[in-house]
Amino acid sequence: MKMKVEYKVKRYNPELDDTAESWDTFVVELDQAATVLDGLIKIREEVDGTLALRCSCRSAICGSCAMRINGQARLACNTKVSDFEKNGNITLLVEPPGNMPVIKDLVVDFVPFWSKVNAVDPWLKPNHPPKYMEEHIVSNESMLHLSEVMGCIMCGACVSDCTVLEVDKSFLGPAALAKAYRFVSDPRDGSAKYRLGSLEKPSGMWDCTRCMQCVEVCPKGVDPMGKIMKLRDFAIQDGYKKTYGAKHTAVFSDSVKHTGWLNEFQLPLRTFGIFNVIKLLGLLPILLDALVSRKVPPIFHHKLPSASSIQRIFKKFDL
């Protein structure tokens, strides 16, 4: 059975006199099992040969066809059009992936993406290289564990929808940080400490706001945010405790542990230090906002009556 599918595709052509972005609508007939990519290829081959997009393997392994489909980054090749059926109609809004400059139509420039990946020294630096014709002896579990993050196909979906990159282009981003995790947690790699040292700098692992967007959109189950959180754990364990991020974590958990809830007023003071005037002044707009909307945290922080049960949880997990 065939279905009619409406594609609304965002167009951009730098060679046209009018280079403004625009939307084109195409209606194509597709099989029930068709993917978004099947329709785009049909449009390109039969309706409008000028439509530019990248695609190759058709089976979610080459990472070429990440794009925004109905507002979210996905691989066009493993997204079924029938998933978007509403009252018998299917309308797809197709845009290039975000956070990267558009070259033409759905094709974006991946140079910023790869420069971030390159910045994490993305190659194994073996601690003790084995002898000729001998492999590293490591557990199967440690390799299976890495296969989750090695499943990353560098499609850029996470980078496209990263909410931090949207406001701060310097952030390393979920793909590069997940790649870094791949080496930090590889038992054969000898430079975890050095790697963590460079990742704890500004624009690194502490800039993630844990919005979960990258986890949501990753088509390969890599869980980039989870990997970033693990990197933070490793960094603190390895003695990198001086960053604001590490302090923030420490102050946060200290407050909850002792009073049962977060002392929001103290959090910035203890994280930045009370003499860090510049940083604290930077928070003034937030404080003013809070005043206006009457959401200022209490200055005097009371211990909750149930704090002892919270403490038991901390004790149980040996924190």
Partner: protein, 563 residues
């Protein structure tokens, strides 16, 4: 004008392996690829990579024998010996670079069984071995700071005074054409799967390197040997890895019968016979009405959830996405589908073609180590061993090559003119690339598939020459220069038509059945007359010449092939 010692065309496993070793040897190396390296189709290799490790009680001779028997005795045995001997060090060096191979209980590299081999010697990373290798090689490219021309498409090879001297290429992002002079050129462009429809291959597998060499006067060899993989999904042709059968999956017909047990199929090795044998058996079941909706069943239900999730996670996802089947619970409908080209640019054991300073490695090359049928997990090995050898040899020879001059202005003008001409055709009645490609793919899959016969192959040749005529008036609807994919696809289609023709010509030429070339009108192997390679040379636009080369036999005399 761009200039390098070694220019490598293609950034899959063969190309990147060549680049890394050539750079190590001090050459000025550049890689040109029409896609970013990690988008290359080496990604799609699922099952693993073969190596016989002596210190584990395996012998390279056994690996070589299995490969030669698998090839139906037209692999060149000197080349197979090299591949089998160098396999171990190649796999171990990939591990040293960072590949996360699955391990055994002692923490050493683990193995799995694969088709056509008497011993489990396939090293693997779950069922995405190709991706795991490709991404690690790209890490090494970054580490070695190898220059990559990303998303550049090669238009032609530069041949001057009977020597290869570089390539003419177009930057897809700007549409600018550049001349790249090189002392050595290595073709590593992969396969030609898109010549067939359907195919397991990616959309980028358009036989570019084979056609570039063919147009430069270099012969293509063994082109009739096209591998149909026994287990592909009906819907989109996606591959269900042989590792499923390696891990113990069964093939069944509509009656639930494991048809590989039938006399004449492979009662001994069953589902793990060579791919040509399994594909023929499956196709026979389907043709004789014992299939289900044009498919047979790949049954993994007895393997258990844990094994499937640990060792076959990717194909479980593929079956879910594209066949709507969870293979833990039900068998997956599969059918034989075009997968691999055993033939390609004729090279020697160092990757050198018949044109001085032009090399080839990987699927686009034919050394020949696969002969009439490639064993599963030998293709990754082929790319690494012969990619490395070509890189080493090309780097060394380029140091000794005297300086030469290229008339780059003339070359540039000619190619600019060709592109202009193509784009300026405004005959909207002209054919678009899509319709010609579909017609070509469908006819190839009809007449040059698992079973072939004289009249079918003849028909294919006639229809292909009609398509070539249509191609002369092809209409490219995008007239711009920036990321003009319609233009690139049109150029690729020209390459594919050349490749398709050489396949049909070679197939019609071989008057016997051997390996993947199974003729219903000539069902027997004929060692007396056909223990030789078929080579096709291009004479001009419409003329070609066929020649033969004897098969190199060292230790293993041809015998009857039974599994």
């Amino acid at each position: 004008m761009l200039e390098h010692d070694v220019l490598i065309i293609g950034a899959g496993l063969a190309g990147m392996r060549a680049a890394i070793v050539a750079k190590d040897l001090g050459a000025d190396v550049a890689v040109v690829s029409k896609v970013h390296p990690v988008r290359s189709h080496s990604n799609a290799a699922q099952g693993g990579i073969n190596a016989a490790l002596a210190h584990r009680g395996d012998k390279w001779e056994d690996h070589a024998y299995d490969t030669i028997k698998g090839s139906d005795y037209i692999a060149d045995q000197d080349a197979v010996e090299i591949m089998a001997k160098e396999a171990g060090s190649e796999v171990i060096s990939m591990e040293h670079m960072g590949v996360i191979f699955n391990r055994d209980d002692e923490g050493k590299l683990g193995t799995r069984a694969f088709g056509g081999q008497r011993k489990a010697r396939t090293f693997f990373v779950a069922d995405f071995t190709g991706q795991a290798l490709l991404h690690v090689l790209y890490e090494q490219i970054i580490k070695s700071d190898v220059l990559v021309y990303e998303e550049w498409f090669v238009l032609s090879l530069i041949v001057q005074d009977g020597e290869c001297s570089g390539a003419v290429m177009i930057d897809m992002k700007s549409g600018n054409i550049e001349i790249c002079v090189a002392k050595s050129v290595i073709l590593a462009t992969g396969g030609l799967g898109r010549v067939f429809e359907p195919s397991t291959n990616a959309l980028i597998c358009t036989g570019d390197g084979m056609a570039l060499a063919y147009r430069a006067g270099v012969p293509l060899m063994d082109m009739e040997m096209v591998q149909y993989h026994p287990t592909t999904l009906k819907n989109n042709g996606a591959l269900m890895s042989e590792s499923a059968r390696g891990e113990g999956a069964y093939l069944r017909n509509i009656d639930g019968e494991r048809f590989m047990a039938k006399e004449g199929n492979a009662p001994k090795m069953m589902e793990l016979a060579s791919r040509d044998v399994v594909s023929r058996s499956a196709q026979k079941e389907i043709n004789e009405g014992r299939g289900i909706d044009g498919c047979v069943l790949l049954d993994c239900t007895h393997l258990g959830e844990k094994l499937i999730n640990e060792k076959l996670p990717q194909i479980r996802d593929l079956a879910k996405d594209f066949a709507n089947v969870d293979m833990i619970k039900e068998p997956v409908p599969v059918r034989p589908g075009m997968h691999y080209q055993m033939g390609g640019v004729k090279t020697d054991i160092n990757g050198l073609t018949t044109l001085p300073h032009l090399y080839a490695a990987g699927e686009c090359a034919c050394v020949s180590v696969h002969g009439g049928n490639r064993l599963g997990a030998n293709s990754l090995l082929d790319t690494l061993v012969f990619g490395r050898r070509a890189g080493e040899y090309a780097a060394e020879v380029s140091k000794k090559r005297r300086n030469f001059k290229i008339s780059s202005n003339d070359l540039l003008k000619k190619h600019e003119g060709d592109i202009e001409k193509l784009l300026s055709n405004n005959d909207k009645d002209g054919f678009m690339y899509g319709s010609i490609r579909k017609e070509m793919g469908t006819l190839m899959n009809q007449y040059l598939a698992v079973f072939r016969d004289e009249s079918g192959m003849q028909t294919a040749i006639e229809k292909l020459s009609e398509l070539k005529l249509k191609y002369k008036n092809i209409f490219v609807s995008d007239k711009g220069r920036v990321f003009n994919t319609a233009l690139i696809f049109t150029l690729e289609l020209g390459f594919m038509l050349d490749c398709a023709e050489t396949i049909a010509i070679s197939a019609l030429e071989r008057k016997e059945s051997r390996g993947a070339h199974a003729r219903i009108d000539m069902p027997d192997r004929d060692d007396k007359n056909w223990l030789k390679h078929v080579l096709v040379y291009r004479e001009n636009d419409d003329a070609y010449r066929v020649d033969y080369l004897p098969v190199v036999i060292t230790l293993w005399k041809p015998e009857e092939r039974k599994y």
